[in-house]
């Protein structure tokens, strides 16, 4: 049991990255419109986030410094401030979207409009971040989020046409009626969602909160190499089940209810209930992840005291930032902006902000002053360098693709 709980951080981080509200819908939409022609993007994303999360976890465990410490230290106060502004924008927008996502999940269970749930969710989230132990939060929401495995079961029960799916996955490209621009737009969005900056902020800060030391490197690796692939698998299962159900019907997906339908179709009410519970846990977990990340990044940029291990009165600035983040997120939703569309925008912006976060990680992971003989090996460096190029390419392509394809609308 202890083993299982020790990877809760990795699982929660991965869930926030791979199956938060935007990804749940984006994966389902990609599955409906393109089949599994984006399967390779998920694989590429999983390898990329594993590689960089492993580095940041290692740096945090050995040196006790979280990622935004490194960003400031290596890029200087000005560039780091630009990165802070960009990351904070992405993180707060995502936080707002996740609050809406929790509301949407509750709406599916209660038929009460999600906007009425949002303030309630926000208060519960704040109380959780104010009072509840970090390990408690990650265990409850990380592990409950795993209920989304129901999508794997549903996919298997739907008796899919595996031959056609295999063909889509191995010969990727847009099907008839879709163009390459839209295809690549989805590819960039799914890739960015796998590597969102707040994942490494959260994971490395969580490592500090859990007081990992060089002795916990095994735990850190375990977290990374189990948690993120698991998150990727859940995302893939959503894509697969959506491709199986909606693909033949030539249907597109843009609401959470539609995403859940394959589970009802395959497993009835019980499956549907599990899917909704999974949505709730995953989006709430993502809301916690993004909420805490706002506090982490600001506090680490300025060198303030942060974290849930301290009494709130000893980390007053950190807790104030958390409160502001949540309030801004709620205010954003109260404009009745569609939370799902909101995350689609944030994915594009986060693609742009990625390089400034990942570059310092790669640099410091090679620094012997920091890591002694635990610096990157050849494999970590090769993978890290290749991904740095990919991340830069995605950052450059994101905005033009968004404009050309009108947010993938065609």
């Amino acid at each position: 049991m202890k083993r299982v709980l020790s990877i809760a951080l990795g699982i929660l981080t991965a869930i926030g990255g791979f199956v938060d509200i935007g990804d749940i819908v984006a994966n389902s939409e990609a599955g409906a419109r393109f089949g599994v022609a984006h399967a390779w993007v998920l694989a590429v994303g999983v390898v990329g986030i594993c590689s960089y999360a492993e580095m940041s976890g290692r740096v945090s465990a050995v040196s006790g410094r979280a990622v935004f410490d490194l960003v400031r230290e290596r890029l200087g106060p000005r560039v780091a401030l630009a990165n802070l502004a960009g990351s904070l924008l992405v993180t707060v927008l995502t936080l707002g979207a996740e609050l809406g996502g929790v509301g949407l999940a509750l709406q599916l269970a209660s038929s009460v409009d999600y906007l009425l749930w949002v303030p309630v969710v926000a208060v519960v989230l704040w109380v959780a971040l104010w009072r509840v132990k970090f390990s408690m939060l990650e265990n409850v929401f990380g592990l409950t989020g795993l209920v989304l495995i129901v999508f794997v079961v549903a996919f298997l029960r739907l008796r899919p046409d595996t031959g056609a799916l295999w063909h889509q996955a191995t010969d990727p490209g847009p099907p008839a009626g879709e163009d390459w621009g839209t295809y690549w737009f989805f590819a960039v969005a799914l890739f960015a969602s796998a590597l969102t900056p707040y994942e490494v902020f959260f994971f490395s800060s969580g490592a500090v909160e859990e007081q990992w030391t060089a002795k916990d490197l095994r735990t850190a690796r375990f977290n990374v190499f189990l948690g993120f692939p698991l998150g990727g698998l859940l995302a893939f299962a959503i894509m697969l089940s959506s491709a199986t159900v909606f693909g033949p019907r030539q249907m597109s997906v843009d609401t959470l209810a539609q995403v859940a339908m394959p589970t009802a179709l395959a497993l009835g009410k019980l499956g549907l209930a599990a899917a909704i519970l999974g949505f709730f846990a995953a989006t709430f977990g993502a809301a916690m992840e993004t909420g805490l990340s706002t506090g982490y990044t600001v506090a680490q940029y300025f060198g303030w005291d942060w974290g849930k291990l301290r009494r709130p009165r000893d980390a007053a600035r950190f807790h104030t930032v958390l409160i502001i983040g949540i309030v801004v997120g709620v205010a954003l939703l109260m404009t009745t902006i569609d939370p799902i569309q909101l995350t689609e925008y944030t994915l594009v912006f986060s693609a742009v902000a990625l390089p400034l976060t990942y570059l310092p990680i790669l640099v410091v992971a090679n620094d012997r002053d920091y890591l002694g003989d635990r610096v990157n090996g050849r494999l970590a460096n090769s993978v890290g360098s290749v991904y740095l190029i990919v991340v830069v390419a995605a950052a450059v392509a994101a905005i033009p693709l968004m404009l050309i394809t009108r947010m993938g609308g065609g």
Partner: protein, 123 residues
């Protein structure tokens, strides 16, 4: 030691490993023959704002200055003789409690956070 690389922008921790702030700037003294030496670490948004410069930097420094308990006191100074060692952080030989309270932290603690129930409990 490389001052900009190893000191500037590093996290400062007190004797017990609690964060004090960042090395936002460094004050140099002059020896008898006029050679500069590292005299003190400057901590806080005042020093940071001055360093960032431009309109944004002036704004950051201005806000910090307004919050400061005594006007014109300048940023918080930590004498370099209090530094016990430098690794991934700058470690001090004193406790944070012996240093002046950062003004923003003190203000938010007294006016916001402490008024919320449960502020004194670690979770």
């Amino acid at each position: 030691m490389l001052v900009a690389f190893q000191l500037l922008d590093r996290q400062i921790l007190d004797r017990d490993g609690r964060p004090v702030g960042k090395v936002d700037d460094i004050e140099l003294g002059r020896t008898e023959v006029g050679v500069p030496y590292v005299a003190a670490l400057l901590v806080g948004q005042q020093a940071l704002g001055d360093r960032i410069g431009g309109a944004l930097g002036r704004w950051i420094a201005g806000v910090a200055r307004r919050l400061a308990p005594a006007p014109g006191r300048g940023p918080m100074r930590i004498g370099f003789d209090l530094v016990a060692g430098v690794d991934s952080a700058v470690n001090l030989s004193v406790s944070r409690d012996q240093l002046p309270d950062p003004p923003l932290e003190a203000w938010l603690r007294d006016h916001v956070i402490d008024r919320i129930p449960g502020a004194g409990h670690a979770s």
